[in-house]
Symmetry: C2
Subunit: 348 residues, 2 copies
């Protein structure tokens, strides 16, 4: 199904753990607020308007890939809009994070969460994918993405960000049946949503479990892993899945068991140790501390080199930050990082 | 120096990895907002007034130990007041966290941080220790505590809580000299402050590195570990030190290298794995997920049992939560947990 240019691109070769001319790199949140080209589009529309406008979402996705020279583009989208057709009322308040007006307050509230039988209501996402794929260089893959079931469930329960996930864990511990129903509906919906992105033109996908680091290994294994696994098992065979979790290196063995041909590592673990933990029979992505981009360029270079060195020249390393790039970061440092990795990765 | 009653108390025996009749337990933040007796005192004074009133600080410390039946009391105090005589202007805004009016904005600002040569300005802490020790049961040890150098430095630099520690890490990465100067001044001050608590009557102390989990293992080792180690090395010999860090199990080998006869584990790691990582030649403390206290009692019991089981009957386990107890927790659940651990710990 892939063109030869895509079949042989750096990113997909590395995802298959094949040798590449240099280490591929892309940056989580690469089309973000640190980039003047992005901010200029944002003077015209709000964040959620941008997410729902295929033309503008395509524009910021393509621009970021082009100005940075990264080896993959990632669809500009948000984790939460897929919850709207499931029955969650979202609002993106100005300058604030998303607000959920009807969070899941009690186990009984789980009943009003509808499984996404049909993903047509998310047409704006698939339309953006088609436009990006049409205009992207022939040798640059397009990544789709979605939130992992736990991260989506905790958004829906907490109603927004959370420090301690008290409400989410309380439901998990006190009403396991309601918890499992919610996670099943999310997982089945995610499979359709992600395969929709692939059908529209994505060559790989990333699952973000941005909040699962608040869990103990036993809780992750019991309450979360089966659902992440069912999502990954349902994704169209042959499409690389990057399974990414942040905040707790002790979960890596179970993250690996949940699946994915690439495991995303955050910066809290040394990349060599993390790769050893998940096994050298999967590829890894990561894992520079994003704050490194605030340092002077010689320091940034040293820190990038330490990550490359930790890969020990083994095929199957996709360079990235350990989490998304911050708004405060100088865009020229991000561009410099991409050049450094391409240069130093040749000898890696 | 210790009375026989203290010498042979459960907590100190476990800290020395000696066999005990049952597993000792205390709860981080046990004199906290979840407890009606504490809230009743707080109707009369603000948080910081309470910290600075030896009589009231003693009262809430003693009450929590008595109503819970825990095996140790911990001084009621806050991490930050020790920064005031060092040149940091603190304010505890109503209903908010602490605010620092003159955070360390630039490396040059480090110059105005004065090393604490004399801890007399913190007399209210030592006075509270004396009053608590006077009125505490003879077989209950009193724990002192302080923030570890990284956590104090990041408060002073960020000016309050932080999500990504951008300012702290930026200084660490871009001006290593200023960073080391700051960490040295904090470490030397901490040694005097902690030994002051011990001289006033504490039988053990805990260092809280509540925020160091945001660091990679390499950064912790290079920028933080030497200072935590210098604090622990400076504490009066023979006094058990609980070295506690939260948020990143991959730091445990280095936390152990920094020292402490007891390593505090948060809930992100399985206790058996964590103990193996730090070595069975130190004691461990922890590590129930604090949200477990929101569950029904049978579930709480199962979860507490899982933590006890993970200790595998090995002497040297001090039961605790993996972090502080939340205000939302029902106080009767905390009392029930103490009873459950004392009962189930007999067969552990």
């Amino acid at each position: 199904m892939l063109t030869p240019a895509l079949q042989n691109c750096r990113f997909l070769k590395a995802a298959r753990r094949e040798k590449t001319d240099t280490t591929p790199i892309w940056i989580m949140r690469q089309a973000g607020r640190y980039l003047p080209e992005y901010m200029s589009v944002r003077t015209k529309v709000t964040f959620i308007e941008l997410c729902k406008s295929p033309d503008l979402a395509a524009e910021v996705t393509l621009t970021a890939q082009r100005v940075l020279g990264v080896d993959a583009a990632i669809l500009f989208a948000d984790l939460l809009p897929m919850l709207e057709p499931m029955g969650i009322d979202l609002e993106y308040a100005k300058g604030e994070g998303p607000v959920i007006h009807n969070p899941i307050h009690s186990p009984a509230d789980v009943d009003r969460i509808r499984e996404l039988e049909d993903v047509a209501s998310l047409h704006f996402v698939f339309e953006a994918v088609r436009r990006i794929r049409r205009d992207l260089p022939a040798d640059i893959p397009l990544l789709g993405f979605a939130g992992a079931p736990f991260t989506l469930a905790s958004y829906a329960i907490e109603g927004g960000g959370s420090k301690n996930y008290v409400k989410t864990k309380t439901m998990m511990y006190t009403d396991e049946g309601a918890w499992r129903t919610l996670m099943e509906r999310l997982s089945r919906s995610l499979v359709r949503y992600i395969n929709g992105q692939i059908n529209a033109g994505c060559q790989a996908v990333q699952l973000f479990d941005s909040w699962a680091g608040c869990l103990s290994p036993d809780d992750y294994k019991r309450y979360v892993m089966p659902y992440t696994k069912s999502v990954i098992d349902g994704i169209r065979p042959g499409v690389p899945v990057i399974n990414f979790l942040t905040g707790n290196p002790a979960l890596l063995p179970y993250l690996r068991d949940a699946g994915g041909s690439v495991i995303g590592l955050d910066w809290r673990v040394n990349l060599a140790d993390g790769w050893k933990t998940v096994g050298h029979d999967v590829a890894v992505q990561g894992n520079l501390d994003p704050v490194s981009l605030m340092a002077d360029l010689p320091t940034l270079r040293q820190r990038a080199k330490a990550v490359l060195d930790a890969a020990e020249g083994r095929p199957g390393h996709i360079f990235n930050l350990g989490h998304g790039v911050f708004p405060e970061v100088p865009p020229e440092h991000v561009k410099a990082l991409v050049e450094m990795v391409h240069e130093m990765g040749q000898n890696a």
